[in-house]
């Protein structure tokens, strides 16, 4: 009786490790197939349009408001120490190092990640993936590789956009509303941000791209293996899991990476 919880814990751990292994193999195979000939350029461009171009508006909006609220909060905190001139540095560093990559990833999960999981899940339950296999078309190469390639291209670009718009948002509230000298704001941005900060944000966005696209595609691809729901319910559960797991993982990975990069 006493051993039951230990037994359950052990079983869960083994399951988790096995699942992580499957996810890793899924990603590695999908990633390597990006480079198999003939290259799937048009499919990758389609995915760049879907993950990247169509996310621009939502990234601009969230970036702008995040920057604006950072400007407001930062100003009222810094003004207590008479250091409001440092607002540009505070906004730029928090955006480039943390908020830019994390919030961009979470917005892309909501917009494109959920759609990827649902699309692949529906393809799985309606036997479209089986149909690809019968045509000797590798479903991983055909469906997953272009998404991985597109995510690796789009995440850093969208993060960069988020950062720039965010810094501009901070400028709007800090300088235009609260009266900080625009020159000082921009000068602080320029002088405080070093290449290491930008590289850190860039690495984070790349890792988040891998996490998000792998988890979302994996959840959709193995919809039929779910034991708690089949058909449409299975797809809905896969989509939910894709969003929840990838969002949580983004935050966990962010902490781990920050602790190494700082």
């Amino acid at each position: 009786m006493m051993t039951l919880p230990v037994y359950a814990l052990g079983r869960q751990t083994i399951f988790l490790i096995r699942e992580l292994g499957r996810i890793a193999i899924f990603f590695v195979r999908g990633f390597l197939l990006i480079f198999s000939f003939p290259l799937q350029i048009s499919k990758t461009i389609e995915q760049i349009y879907f993950i990247g171009a169509k996310s621009v508006l939502v990234i601009c909006l969230t970036g702008a408001f995040t920057g604006m609220v950072l400007g407001l909060q930062g100003y009222y905190t810094l003004v207590k120490f008479g250091a409001e001139g440092m607002l540009g540095a505070a906004v730029a560093l928090s955006l480039i190092r943390e908020l830019g990559p994390v919030l961009s990833a979470i917005m892309i999960i909501g917009r494109a990640g959920s759609a990827m999981a649902a699309e692949i899940g529906i393809m799985r339950i309606s036997e479209q993936i089986d149909a690809l296999e019968t045509m000797d078309i590798n479903p991983l190469r055909f469906l997953i590789s272009p998404k991985i390639a597109a995510a690796l291209i789009c995440f850093p670009l969208l993060t960069a956009l988020f950062d720039v718009i965010g810094i501009f948002g901070g400028y709007l509230t800090g300088s235009m509303l609260l009266g900080i000298d625009p020159g000082i704001y921009l000068n602080r941005v320029e002088s405080s941000v070093v290449m290491k900060d930008i590289a850190g944000g860039f690495y984070k966005s790349l890792v988040f791209a891998v996490v998000v696209v792998t988890i979302c595609c994996f959840q959709g691809y193995y919809t039929h293996k779910r034991t708690e729901g089949f058909g449409a319910k299975g797809v809905s559960l896969s989509t939910t899991s894709a969003v929840v797991i990838s969002s949580v993982l983004v935050l966990i990975v962010d902490y781990v990476m920050t602790s190494f990069l700082i």
């Binding site: 393809m123 089986d130 019968t134 078309i137």
Partner: protein, 403 residues
């Protein structure tokens, strides 16, 4: 003995507690259409998926020209897969791309053909399957029957060597259904592919199949030619075939064998009780195999259907035609003596002379031989004896030849 192209040896597959395949043994021969029949949910689709490698057996072997599928090298498996095409029961069309793109996909992905060549091949298949004008539509905008034909076009566009059809005609109207059967048989004749068809269209599917296998409780209960399955004494097979025929009454315009047997037995009971005479005439298309060989199996089906329709038109309403075997029609004549049956036979032969009862003429070099034999019901004969009696040479009335 000829080596089967595909052979399933003692294949087992279980899903949870459900044993779907329980020691399945099946041989599929090259260049033949093999039809798999069996109850819905009985594992026919699972069997097909094992053949193409979408599912792996828990135990047992699947041999391709004597080589085990599981022991094949990657490259060998790839070559093997390229020979196949699969028509899914639920069509499995890609719903986010157009009909044209769906059909073109296997060519686009797996060949180095130029765009124009791919387009030509796709249009050719679309024309053959009566799919003109829908190339820019999406699968969700099509009816069920159209989707089936698009799926067929996609499967056949690569001119595969082996085609697996999972209920290709379910949900189609009789005309389209015949068109699909015709296409399968024409293609098979033209390209000599090996076909494996899961179908419930009994007896129509028998006309295009060279072999039939019945799957029952995870095992192959019967394997043989369409003629053999119709004549087998296995009661489970007979019940299944007749059960399906009941569901497809008046398929091809003819009442089923099962209905005929029931009606003849009713007449026999009337004869026993009320001494009311009745007679049977059996029309046999003697050279159905030759017709099938020369003009394709659909011609054989057309001959039988048209003959039955003509007989229905020319005989009184109380007389009814029943299909019996693949090439026979029984005409049941209630309240008719042998002499009256003889006269009727004579009249029918006169009336049918010169009529295009085949709807196929002219076909130079192909003659249709039809024989008619008749007998009157007797109290001392059982149903089977009566059929044998009708068939016997002394009751042969005439042979009829149309060239």
């Amino acid at each position: 003995m000829e080596l089967p192209l595909i052979q399933l040896v003692d294949v087992h597959k279980t899903f949870g507690d459900n044993k779907v395949l329980n020691g399945t043994n099946l041989s599929i021969f090259e260049g033949q259409v093999t039809t798999i029949i069996g109850k819905s949910g009985g594992g026919k689709s699972v069997l097909l998926k094992h053949i193409i490698g979408l599912m792996e057996p828990d135990s047992g072997k699947i041999l391709f020209r004597g080589h085990s599928l599981s022991e094949m090298q990657k490259a060998e498996k790839k070559t093997f897969k390229r020979k196949f095409s699969y028509v899914f029961q639920g069509t499995a069309l890609f719903d986010s791309i157009t009909v044209f793109e769906n059909i073109a996909l296997p060519l686009k992905e797996k060949t180095s053909f130029k765009k124009a060549k791919i387009a030509g091949r796709v249009r050719e298949k679309m024309d053959q399957l009566d799919l003109q004008g829908i190339d820019q539509k999406y699968p969700s905008q099509l009816s069920g029957g159209m989707k089936k034909r698009v799926a067929l076009a996609r499967a056949l566009v690569t001119d595969p060597e082996i085609v697996l059809f999972d209920e290709p005609t379910t949900g189609l109207d009789p005309i389209r259904k015949n068109a699909v059967h015709k296409m399968i048989s024409d293609y098979q004749k033209q390209f000599g592919f090996t076909g494996v068809v899961v179908s419930h269209e009994i007896p129509d599917i028998f006309y295009i199949s060279q072999r039939v296998a019945m799957l029952e409780e995870g095992r192959i209960l019967f394997e043989g030619s369409p003629e053999e399955i119709q004549q087998t004494s296995n009661s489970v097979v007979q019940d299944f075939i007749h059960g399906l025929e009941r569901g497809h009454e008046k398929i091809s315009g003819i009442e089923s064998h099962y209905q005929g047997e029931k009606r003849i037995k009713e007449e026999m009971a009337r004869l026993q009780r009320y001494h009311t005479a009745f007679s049977l005439i059996i029309y046999t298309v003697e050279n159905l195999n030759e017709i099938n060989e020369k003009l394709g199996p659909m011609a054989g089906l057309t001959v039988i259907t048209n003959l039955a329709n003509e007989l229905q038109i020319l005989t009184p309403l109380t007389d009814t035609c029943y299909r019996f075997g693949l090439n026979k029609i029984i005409l049941l004549l209630p309240n008719t003596t042998k002499e009256q049956a003889h006269t009727l036979c004579e009249n029918l032969s006169e009336q049918m002379q010169g009529r295009d009862i085949f709807g196929l003429m002219p076909h130079p070099g192909v003659c249709f031989f039809i024989s008619a034999s008749y007998t009157e019901g007797r109290k001392d004969l059982s149903y089977e004896e009566m059929l044998l009696q009708t068939h016997s040479m002394q009751n042969m009335f005439y042979e009829f030849k149309v060239c």
